[in-house]
C-alpha cells in the first residue's frame, strides 16, 4: 500500500495529460491522412500546394530567428545587472517581470497604441520635429513594418521569461567560485567567460527551448497586428479550421508545429548538451 500510494496520487494527473496530449496527436494524424476511412495524401497535397503554407513556415521561423537571439542577449545583460544589489532593485525587478502577465493579444493591442498612425510614437516624433509624415506600421503594403511591429512587441513582452530563467540560474552560482577566481587574479571578463557562462549553460538552454517552442506557436500578436498579411503556422491552422472548416489541412498545420517543436527541442538538447531537465526547488 505504502509503495503504491505515490502512483495512485499521480495517476489522475498523468492520465489526464496523456489523454489530452495523446488523443489530439492520434486524431490529428487520422484527420490529416485519411478520408472516409482510407489513407490519402490529399490534405498534404492541398497544404503544400498552398503558398500560404510556405509563407507561414517562412515567417514563423523568420520571427523566431530575429527575435530569440536579441532576447537572449538582452536577458543576459539584464540578468547580470539585476544580480547585483542596488537601491530600487525590487521596483526594477517588478517592472521587468510585468510583461510576463500580459497576454500576446493584449501586448499586440498595446503596441498598436504605440505605433499606429495617430499613436504615441508617431505623435511624439512629429511634435519633436524628427519626422514630417507619420511612419506607417500597419496595412498590407507595409508588411515589413508589420513584421517589425511584431518583433518589437515580442521583444517587449517575451524577453521577461528568458530573463527570469537566466537570473534564477545566475543566483545559483556560488559566490565562492567567483571569489576564488578573483583571488587568483582573474579579471571580470575572464570570470564571466570561464565560470559564469559555463555554469549558466543549463539555464540558457532551458530558456532557449522554452522561447523557441513558444515562438513556433506564435498567434495572438500576429493576428492582432497583421492578420494574415504575415501568415504564421498557428494562424493558418486557426484560419483553416474556423473560416475554411478544413479539418484535414488544419491538422497538418498542427502536426507541422508539433514536428518543428520536437525537432528544435531535440536539436537544442543535442547541441547544448546540458542537464537542464532538473527541477530546482
Amino acid at each position: 500500500m505504502k509503495l503504491r500510494l505515490p502512483y495512485l496520487l499521480l495517476l489522475p494527473a498523468v492520465l489526464y495529460l496523456v489523454f489530452f496530449i495523446g488523443y489530439p496527436l492520434v486524431q490529428a494524424l487520422y484527420l490529416a491522412f485519411t478520408q472516409n476511412g482510407h489513407f490519402t495524401l490529399d490534405n498534404v497535397r492541398r497544404t503544400i500546394g498552398d503558398p500560404y503554407f510556405w509563407q507561414a513556415l517562412k515567417y514563423t521561423i523568420a520571427l523566431a530567428v530575429v527575435i530569440i537571439p536579441i532576447q537572449l542577449f538582452l536577458a543576459l545583460i539584464l540578468a547580470v545587472v539585476m544580480n547585483r544589489t542596488f537601491k530600487g532593485k525590487d521596483l526594477a525587478l517588478y517592472a521587468l517581470i510585468i510583461p510576463l502577465t500580459i497576454s500576446d493579444v493584449a501586448g499586440g493591442l498595446i503596441w498598436y497604441t504605440m505605433l499606429t498612425d495617430a499613436g504615441f510614437l508617431n505623435k511624439l516624433l512629429l511634435n519633436l520635429g524628427l519626422i514630417t509624415q507619420p511612419i506607417h506600421f500597419f496595412g498590407y503594403e507595409y508588411r515589413n513594418m508589420e513584421f517589425l511591429a511584431i518583433v518589437i512587441e515580442e521583444l517587449w513582452r517575451a524577453t521577461a521569461i528568458v530573463f527570469v530563467i537566466i537570473l534564477a540560474g545566475l543566483q545559483m552560482i556560488s559566490k565562492e567560485y567567483l571569489e576564488a577566481a578573483e583571488v587568483f587574479g582573474a579579471d571580470y571578463w575572464t570570470r564571466m567567460r570561464k565560470i559564469v557562462i559555463p555554469l549558466l549553460k543549463p539555464s540558457i538552454q532551458s530558456a532557449l527551448i522554452i522561447r523557441t517552442l513558444f515562438a513556433m506557436q506564435v498567434f495572438g500578436v500576429v493576428w492582432i497586428l497583421a492578420g494574415r498579411d504575415i501568415p504564421v503556422l498557428a494562424g493558418e491552422g486557426f484560419y483553416q479550421l474556423t473560416f475554411i472548416k478544413d479539418y484535414g489541412v488544419a491538422s497538418i498545420y498542427a502536426l507541422t508545429i508539433a514536428a518543428l517543436s520536437i525537432l528544435l527541442g531535440a536539436m537544442y538538447v543535442k547541441f547544448l548538451k546540458a542537464e537542464y531537465l532538473e527541477v530546482r526547488t
Binding site: A13, P24, A28, I98, I257, T281
Partner: protein
C-alpha cells in the same frame, strides 16, 4: 581616470541602462491606459501626444455594447473551473512528487516539465472533433478542460515545490501522535501551504485568462474575453474597429493579470521549475 570616478561612471551607466529598460517596458502600458480613456478629438489631434480630455465612453461601449462584459464573465468562469479541476488533479500529484521517493519518479517529473512546452494549437485543433461528438463544443466547461491540460504541468510543479517547503518533521510528528497521513495533510501540510497555493491559483487564473487560441477555436458564442477581443479586432478582418476600442481592450485585459501577479510575484519563478531568492 582614478578609481572613484570610474566607479561613479559605472554606476551611472548601470542606472541609465536599467532606467531605459524600465521605461521601455512601463511606458507602453501607461500610454495604452491613457489612450483607452482619451477623448476622440484628443486622439486625432496631432499636437496631443498625451491626451488631456478623458472619457470612459470606449471602455463602456466595449464592455456593454460589444460584449466584453460577457467575455469577462465567461473568462472568470473558465478560469475558476480550470483552477478547480487542475488543482484537484494537480495537488495530489505535486504532493506525491514532493514527499515520496519511488521508482520512475524522475521520468515522471521530467515528462511533466517537458509538457510545460507542449504546443497548444496541436492540442486544440484535433480536439474540436471530439468536442463536437461530446457536445462540449462552444461550452465553457470544454474550454476549461483544455485549459486544465495546459495549466496542469505548472500546477504540479508549483504545488510540489510548495509542499517540499513544508517541513516533513511536522507531518511526521502528527503521524506519531496517531493522526493518519490524510489527516496530517489536511491539518498540517495544507494550512501551511495555503499562501503558496493561493499564489498558484492566481497563476492558473492568469494563464487561463490570457489564453486565446484554444478559446477561439473551441467557442463561437460563449467566448472568453481574449477570444471575444480577437474576433472583434484582429488585424485584417477587424481592422474596422476604431483604434480607441483597441486601447480600451488592452486596458481591460491587462489590468486583472497585473494585479494578480503583483500579489503572487514571489512565486513567479517556481512556475518555471526554479526559485528566485
Amino acid at each position: 581616470m582614478n578609481d572613484k570616478t570610474r566607479f561613479m561612471l559605472k554606476k551611472l551607466l548601470l542606472y541609465s541602462f536599467l532606467f531605459t529598460v524600465v521605461v521601455w517596458i512601463v511606458l507602453p502600458i501607461i500610454v495604452s491606459i491613457l489612450y483607452a480613456f482619451s477623448s476622440k478629438l484628443d486622439y486625432y489631434d496631432p499636437q496631443k501626444v498625451i491626451p488631456t480630455h478623458y472619457t470612459t465612453q470606449w471602455v463602456k461601449t466595449l464592455l456593454f455594447t460589444l460584449g466584453a462584459w460577457d467575455g469577462i464573465k465567461n473568462s472568470v468562469i473558465v478560469a475558476i473551473l480550470t483552477i478547480i479541476i487542475s488543482f484537484s488533479l494537480g495537488i495530489p500529484a505535486g504532493y506525491a512528487i514532493a514527499k515520496f521517493i519511488f521508482p520512475g519518479k524522475d521520468t515522471i517529473k521530467l515528462s511533466i516539465i517537458a509538457l510545460r512546452m507542449f504546443p497548444i494549437p496541436v492540442m486544440a485543433i484535433p480536439l474540436v472533433v471530439l468536442y463536437i461528438k461530446l457536445n462540449l463544443i462552444d461550452t465553457l466547461l470544454g474550454v476549461a478542460l483544455a485549459h486544465t491540460a495546459m495549466a496542469l504541468p505548472f500546477v504540479v510543479l508549483i504545488t510540489s515545490s510548495i509542499f517540499a517547503g513544508v517541513s516533513k518533521e511536522l507531518e511526521e510528528a502528527a503521524m506519531v501522535f496517531g493522526v493518519t497521513r490524510l489527516g496530517a495533510f489536511f491539518r498540517i501540510t495544507l494550512p501551511l501551504a495555503l499562501p503558496g497555493l493561493a499564489a498558484a491559483a492566481m497563476f492558473t487564473f492568469v494563464m487561463s485568462w490570457n489564453e486565446v487560441f484554444v478559446a477561439s477555436i473551441l467557442t463561437l458564442k460563449n467566448r472568453t474575453l481574449p477570444a471575444q477581443i480577437l474576433s472583434i479586432m484582429a488585424g485584417s478582418s477587424g481592422g474596422a474597429a476604431p483604434p480607441y476600442y483597441k486601447f480600451a481592450a488592452a486596458f481591460i485585459m491587462t489590468l486583472p493579470a497585473m494585479i494578480f501577479i503583483f500579489f503572487a510575484r514571489k512565486y513567479l519563478v517556481s512556475m518555471w521549475g526554479i526559485t528566485l531568492k
